[in-house]
């Protein structure tokens, strides 16, 4: 059964999520990928404020295409999450709850998710046109000079995701392939 969930995630909603759950996410999320993460972590190192309060929020690893006339956004699928592994534990430690991307996470991120009670969702990589249809509003909130890599606040409706790493030790990127591996 597909669960309907809302961002920012409420504690009871978050606690119910398990690796392997299919969910439809609605609400507010923030895009951020390589360059935005690098800048955010530099701000943290300098003791400065982040452009948005990450506590309780969900970050979507995405850099969209420009919108065509009349559209809200261009194609907007997830990018490879493992490139953000260097930054995620720091952000999780500051209270970031959710991450959306594609592909497996490193052990340090899996551990940070468990320690801080977070969640990592897989969106379908390469389904950029389909996902764009779930985005109802876009607002650049920081690092506009980074172009596609700017931080954008997205209002999404029924974004199809799969819970890939939960806070209870579940990791679909390990369990899934192990189930179908043949020697």
């Amino acid at each position: 059964m597909v669960k309907q969930i809302h961002a920012p995630l409420q504690p009871e909603e978050l606690a119910s999520l398990r690796a392997g759950d299919s969910v439809l996410l609605s609400g507010t999320i923030y895009t951020g990928r390589d360059a935005a993460h690098k800048r955010m972590c530099a701000l943290i190192a300098d003791g400065q404020a982040l452009p948005f309060d990450v506590r309780g929020q969900v970050i979507y690893y995405a850099g969209p295409c420009p919108a065509k006339t009349g559209d809200v956004i261009g194609s907007c699928g997830p990018t490879t999450s493992s490139r953000m592994d260097a930054y995620s534990p720091l952000l999780c430690g500051l209270g970031l709850i959710g991450m959306i991307g594609k592909g497996p996470r490193g052990p340090q991120v899996v551990e940070a998710i468990q320690r801080n009670g977070g969640v990592y969702f897989a969106a379908t990589g390469g389904a950029g046109a389909l996902i764009a249809g779930c985005v109802k509003a876009v607002n650049v909130i920081a690092f506009d000079d980074l172009g596609t890599e700017a931080i954008r606040e997205l209002k999404v409706e029924n974004l199809p995701l799969i819970v890939a790493v939960d806070a209870h030790g579940g990791n679909l990127y390990e369990q899934g392939p192990a189930q179908y591996r043949r020697e």
């Binding site: 295409c65 420009p66 919108a67 261009g74 390469g126 799969i162 369990q175 899934g176």
Partner: protein, 279 residues
């Protein structure tokens, strides 16, 4: 001698990228549908269904299949009897790319490697030129996303490792890539040559119709064997587990040196985009 205007080259490059980024080939769509029929994993089937729906939607709405509209890779074969007129051929190609990425609302993903300064128009393109007999120009546009490009590998094997070493290296590259390169992937392989030529062959092999076997029976057999081994890894669509890790393996080979056995693996995501035109 046949004269070809660089304006025509610019127009052709522009229209090839406009098409390639939005319209997946029937080759890839056919393989995705065949994979959906075979896939046992529920997540795998769901992902494949989404990809097919996405590809159809992108073509219908003239939207990019994937937000990563790639670096603009171009293979150009120039007939030796062609004379380009009307300006700098290299500039014409860059202008064609620049126009396509602007007109198509494609992402500007290209930047300086160290300073990370974005050129904002997705140039420069990566152009591979070959002089061939005849009086025609063949242009292939192959926008290349970097989720998969990042998972590419070069193995400088020793002759003692032989055919088995080559096969194991390719499977190992796919295993290590795991869910990162947006599986189901197309695996481009270059065997032999020099270090840089092996990778060029691996890249070029990806411009073949997806799933079409190599004309060389020995390589075609290796492609079949490797595809089967790769699809036993269990990685599956998007790395969530399943039988469909690769849609195809394409191999090219070239003579090499007595001391070496280069093997290059260029990973291609399921958005295996390539369009060709002959002028």
């Amino acid at each position: 001698m046949r004269e070809i205007s660089t304006q025509l080259v610019e127009e052709t490059v522009c229209s090839l990228f406009l098409s390639a980024c939005c319209e997946i080939g029937s080759d890839v769509l056919g393989l995705l549908n065949a994979a959906l029929d075979r896939e046992e994993s529920p997540f795998g089937r769901e992902v494949l269904r989404q990809l097919i729906e996405n590809d159809e939607l992108a073509a219908r709405r003239r939207m990019p299949i994937c937000q990563d509209t790639g670096m603009a890779v171009i293979f150009m074969e120039v007939g030796q009897d062609v004379h380009f007129t009307g300006g700098d051929i290299n500039e014409a190609i860059e202008t064609g790319v620049r126009r396509a990425y602007r007109e198509g609302c494609f992402r500007a993903s290209v930047l300086t490697p160290l300073g990370r300064v974005n050129t904002k128009d997705n140039t420069p393109a990566i152009v591979h030129t070959r002089i061939v007999p005849g009086d025609r120009v063949t242009l292939t546009a192959a926008p290349k996303g970097f989720g998969s490009e990042n998972m590419s590998r070069l193995f400088m094997l020793t002759p003692s490792q032989g055919v088995q070493g080559v096969k194991d290296a390719v499977v190992e590259a796919v295993r290590l890539a795991g869910g990162n390169p947006c599986p189901p992937v197309v695996v481009g392989v270059g065997i032999g040559g020099t270090a840089e030529y092996a990778m060029l062959m691996a890249k070029h092999s990806l411009t073949r119709e997806c799933g079409e076997p190599s004309p060389d029976p020995e390589l075609a057999a290796m492609e079949r064997e490797l595809l089967e081994r790769i699809n036993c890894l269990g990685i599956g669509p998007q790395g969530l587990g399943g039988r469909t890790t690769a849609l195809a393996v394409h191999i090219e080979q070239m003579h090499t040196h007595i001391a070496g056995l280069p093997v290059a693996v260029n990973m291609q995501c399921h958005a295996a985009r390539h369009k060709t035109a002959v002028i």
